[in-house]
Each structure stands twice: as C-alpha cells, then as structure tokens.
Amino acid sequence: MSVLQSLDLRRRSASPEPPPPAGKAPAVEVAKLIDVSKCIGCKACQAACLEWNQLDQPIGYTDGTYNNPTDLTPASFTVMRFTEYEHGDDFEWLIRKDGCMHCADPGCLKACPAPGAIVQYTNGIVDFVSDNCIGCGYCVKGCPFNIPRISKTDSKAYKCTLCSDRVVVGQAPACAKACPTQAIYFGTKADMTAHAGKRIEDLKSRGFQNAGLYDPPGVGGTHVMYVLHHADRPSLYAGLPDNPRISPLVGVWKGMLKPISLAAIAFAGVFGLVHYVTRGPNRVTEHDEEEAAALEKQKGA
C-alpha cells in the first residue's frame, strides 16, 4: 500500500496525539498545487467538487460578478474568486480557487472541542468527520483562511476533504482531475514544490519578477499551495492572507487558557477543602442564639 494513500492519523481534534503507526514507512505528504497563472476560472473544479461530493448547493442569483456561488457554503467546498486588478495601463484578471488549505498546523483542528471531529492524516490531509462534529463553529474561529462553513440543516461543519476518499484509492482529488488546464496539480508535496519551481521560472521569464510559491510558514506550510504571479502581495488575490497564522486569540483560548482555567478551578476546590479541614465550619454558637433571642424579646416587648 502506497504511503501516500495512508489514512493513518497524525492528529485528532480534542484528543491526545495518536502514536505513530507501527511497522510502516514514514508517510509521504501530499499537496495540491494551484497554479493561478494557468487558471482560466472556468469553475470545472467547482462542478467536479459538487458532483463528486454530491453536494446540494441551491441555485442563487448573480451579483454582477463571475463569483458564483458568491462565497463558500456548506455545500460549496471551493469557489473561484475573481479580482479585477488594474495597474497603470495594464490590467490583470486574477482568479483564485479558494478552499481549504490543509494547513500543517490546522487552526480548525486546534479549535475543535469534539474528539475526532477533525483529523489530520499523516499524508497531510485535514478532514472533517461529520459523525463526530457537534456544530459549534469553533473551527470557523480557528481557521486563518475563513474556510469552514456550518450547515443550517444538519448543524455540522463542512469544507474541502481533499477528496480523501479518492486519494486513499489512488486517485487525484476531483478538482485536480477535472481541471482542464492543469492549473491544479496533485502529488507529493516535494514534487509539487519542485514543479512550482519550474512554473515560477517560466513566469519570471514572462516578466512576473515577483512570481513565487505560497506555502505560508505561519501555519507550518500548507498542503494546498498556490503559484502566484505576485507572490509578494498575496492579498491581491481576493484577500488571500499575506501572513496567515492561527489568531493569537485562538492561541490563548485553545492554549494556555485551558490548563490555567482548570488549574484555577481545581485550586479553588482544594482551597475550600483545606480551609474546611484546617479552620472548620463557621457555626452559630448557643451564645449567638441567646443574643438573638434576647434581642427578639427586647424588640417584641
């Protein structure tokens, strides 16, 4: 069995780190490379994704752009985002396929409170396991790329699975398979990085001096990478984060706050116990009762 096709777990939400699988070769990481410079925005990837995942995205309205659906939804794991970029006399139509980046350090997984609702396979795919999802939306808050969406119908979180079901049987994700211009490549992360290198060289030869690979270190790198003509300004591409990282607030929330809080609660409990044992209860004495009775008598008199 190919190591790429492994669905051994590297991480599981709200769970201790699983032990490395015994007796197996170390996993090879996969990656999807989206070459924005080859993308024609045809939305074949969107169609293939809807089809393969049997998603029931309702028919919407046009908003006067080519963005349809206008945003990611629980039934649209990927959308094309079109940006009209004018600079001087030149014009570029920047088209970016948006969807889960499959971060090496996934914010969603970090934020998720439900054990096993989000998993990261050793090949790098970050997947949502609906059976375990409680629909709290913490993944939305954890994600630096604003990807997961909560379904209004079943209150579960959805996003791109990188077609883990296809990858496991040796097929490319549906979007990569469909992409007419091979703007979407799929393979090992090492191969994809090398291939990106060649593409960047080609783009530089065509005058895109700042062409480069988007594999942001702030999230430990991603398993969905972009070749960008303007890698110096990712945010040109419909707000792709320049330096994505898990929000420090999420870091606090899902980091130190958890142990400190439990410790504080435990401390309070223990303090009470110790106090009770050492100091004992505070009792009303007979003297107090007599004083009270005396006062009562006095007033009542």
Partner: protein
Amino acid sequence: MAVTRRQFMKVSAAGLAASSVGALGFVDAGEALAAGARPYRLEKATETRNACPYCAVACGVLIYSTADGTSKDAKPKVVHIEGDPDHPVNRGTLCPRGAASLGYLHSANRLQYPMHRKPGTDKFERVSWDFALDRIAQLMKEDRDKNFIAKNRDGVTVNRWLSTGFFGGSSLSNEAGWLTYKFVRSTGILALEDQARI
C-alpha cells in the same frame, strides 16, 4: 463497452508523467476502504466509455452506472461521470459543463413521453408513440402532397418541397445524422439546416 472498474492516478499532465504522482499506483481497495473515513463510492459501479455531449472537443468520459439495490432486474442508473484519462485530447479533464453532465441526464426537464399540444390550448397532453408518429406522418403527407413542386416555372424538374422545414440536431451521432439526411432529403425538403451556421 463496459469495462471492469479500474483505478488510475493520472493527473494527466503530460509534463508530470515521470514524477512520483504517476507512481501512486494501485491499491488494495478493501484495505483502503477499511481505513478510510469516507468510502470510495464507485466501488461497485460499471464503467462505460462515452464522449461528452456538449462541445466539439468531444472529451472522453467515463460513465459510472449502477443498479439500485441488489435486484437483478433493477434498471441501471448513472451515478457519476468523470473524464477518461486515456483520451488523448482531454486526458481525464472536463470543463464545468462536462463535469456536471450527470445533471443533464437526470435533469427534471428531460422529456420522457411524447406530448401533444392542440392548437389554441395552453398545455401539453401525453400521447402514445403510435399516435404521435402516425399524426406526424399524416401531417407530412398532407402538406407534401399539397405543396410539392415537381417542376419550376421554366419546366425544369426540381422535385422540391418548401412548405416544411427541418432543423437537425448537431449533437446527434453520425449514424443518426445519416438517417436524418436520408429521411429528410428523400422527401424533397430543401429547408434542412443544423446548428452549424448558428
């Protein structure tokens, strides 16, 4: 031609053929499925080679069909359509129309039965094939017999029928096209057109 299900991993990039992606290879599906959170849903599907119905790139497609349930006589149903990775032109890729073509086969707007709209009415009514075909043959014959032009004003034999026209499809098979040609031209219809001009 139904071939047995086959697994492949061709990202289809000519330039990438030599990379390790091509070596992803085959896998024992049983084992993989046991491990996977999501089952691979074409496991029991039949694969048929066809061509995308839309534009003239004529991308090769693989049509996956399956019978509902286990009953032997259940009518097979198309469950998925994907690009044919062996096809030299599309190499497994499909555009948004081809990728969504399952929805064409299953469209709620597919015609299922012959329908008839009587003059001046506001609805179609279901009719039998026999009724429809006989009615058409009768209408054709009436009009042809009445309006057929055997000779023009100069006495030249022209054998044409101008009061009925035929717009032919451009997504018919060649065989259907040839039968259409035979049927239409034999009647003397000159007004025979297809999508080629429009």
